[in-house]
Amino acid sequence: MKLKHPLPKLACHLVLLVGSLVCMFPLLWMVLTSLKPIEETMTMPPKWIPSVFEWGNYVKAVLYQREKLGYIPFLRYTLNTLYLVLMTVPGCLLSNALVAYGFARIKWRGRETLFALTLATMMIPFPVTMVPMYVLFRHLHWIGTFRPLWVGAWFGGAFNIFLLRQFFRSIPEELSDAARVDGASEFRIFWQIILPLAKPALAVVALFHFMYIWNDFMGPLIYLQDQSQFTLALGLQAYQSQHGGTEWNMLMAAATIMVTPVIVLFFFTQKTFIQGITVTGLKG
């Protein structure tokens, strides 16, 4: 709905500008605080711009007190998080693509029922499965290992199956038929024809999955025990609960370290991001 008159247009800009300020200020404040010497975080009125830019805070946050007892290994956390990304993204793509293909491009008896059941699993709250999965992984002696956090990704999930199925269905059936006439097996059609065409949708799945692993707090909290295994999310929380309320510059530096890769990734993949959100939000 377009606005035609200049006055409403101006008002609209004004509201959006204020909104933008509200959105951006906390992030700006995070970065500014992260660059302050500790004394300047504790002044009232607050000091807006640091008198010196303490880039050293970042070095300190990453290598914090290496020699001391409370050493918090951020590099380790990052590597742990990336390890989980590497262990899950391929499995997540492969399993969901296979299953979505089975739902979208092959007609078989019981397909619709199973698909309805699949969608219904989206209604199951995480806490319902949490206790039995913990018990199961405990019996397998997997508590305190990364396994509970990556094994599941290799067996598909309702949300991604749904997303890829929608995309596969939009690919013309003639492409598959032509390949079938040439004697291609179903797997070859999947692998050599459909998957290459589905790159944009696969990019969405990979991107969202990366975000999920990067952000996930409850999973690591439940399954990881040794600090040397913590992911960034869990490590940052541990850091906060040990040093919270004092070294805000350090905490903000740590938070900035966690946020920056996500924002950079967003700027490089903006189109994929927006598309993914719209597809899952609108066609649900």
């Binding site: 504790m42 199961l136 707090f217 905490l251 938070a255």
Partner: protein, 294 residues
Amino acid sequence: MTDREKRNLRLGLAFCSPWLIGLVVFQLYPIVASMYFSLCDYSVLEKASFIGLSNYRDLMADEVFWQALRNTLYYAAMALPLGLIVSFATAVLLNTGVKGMTVYRTIFFLPSLVPAVASAILWLWLLNGKFGVVNYALDAVGIKGPGWLSDPLWTKPSLVLMSLWGVGHAVVIYLAGLQDVPQQLYEAAELDGAGWWGKLRHVTVPMMSPVILFNLIMGIIGSLQMFALPFIMLPGGQPARSAYFFAVYLYDNALPYLQMGYASAMAWILFILTLLLTWIALRLSGKHVHYEGA
């Protein structure tokens, strides 16, 4: 079945086999097991012993359970409508052909990218009682800021406020939906003499109603499971358990206290509550949601 049908069935099941395993191991088994555990006294260290409905009875008499439930519903009842209004209104404003729409959209979206843990720590700092910049800003315009995270009355509103900061995700969805509303409908409404507000009420909102409903239901499911933010920002739901959320109490029962049966009973109550609220949302919206075509 013909040979072709049999072949297709085999192929279909083969392609779906990862999910068949996933569905059974990661969804169906836990649901059934959770149901069973909820009827047991179970500490993981010892074998589960069947105790019937005792856990549920104990929950009904557990003051903390009720408080956690009240907190969670209170939060959802504030965060969902406010989030809907703010994100929808923002999307409508962005869809007015305003210059720099994509820049605004990016700005509004950025906060929703911030990981929950980072967001929790950032807002602990912004809302800090002594050196928090939010209260400083309020003070500057002559308002005495509340103890956001120290006054039991204000902990939940603080979390609602934070959730509004992250509505950019919904803005993107609504904006895309708004761009799909056919222009002819607005033209027809104009011919009937509808003004800007009339068009919004009689064209935009009905056309967007399925998207709104979908987001509302996702919002219900999500906010009932609210965990990371209160867990990190307000340990133990303090002060006065005012921010003790359902999922946090459930987690506390399960892991630190190893009361798996009790936690499972809570999980089932959560499950039923989720289904109930979703059903109510679907029923209430039935007449008002407009599905076009398919």
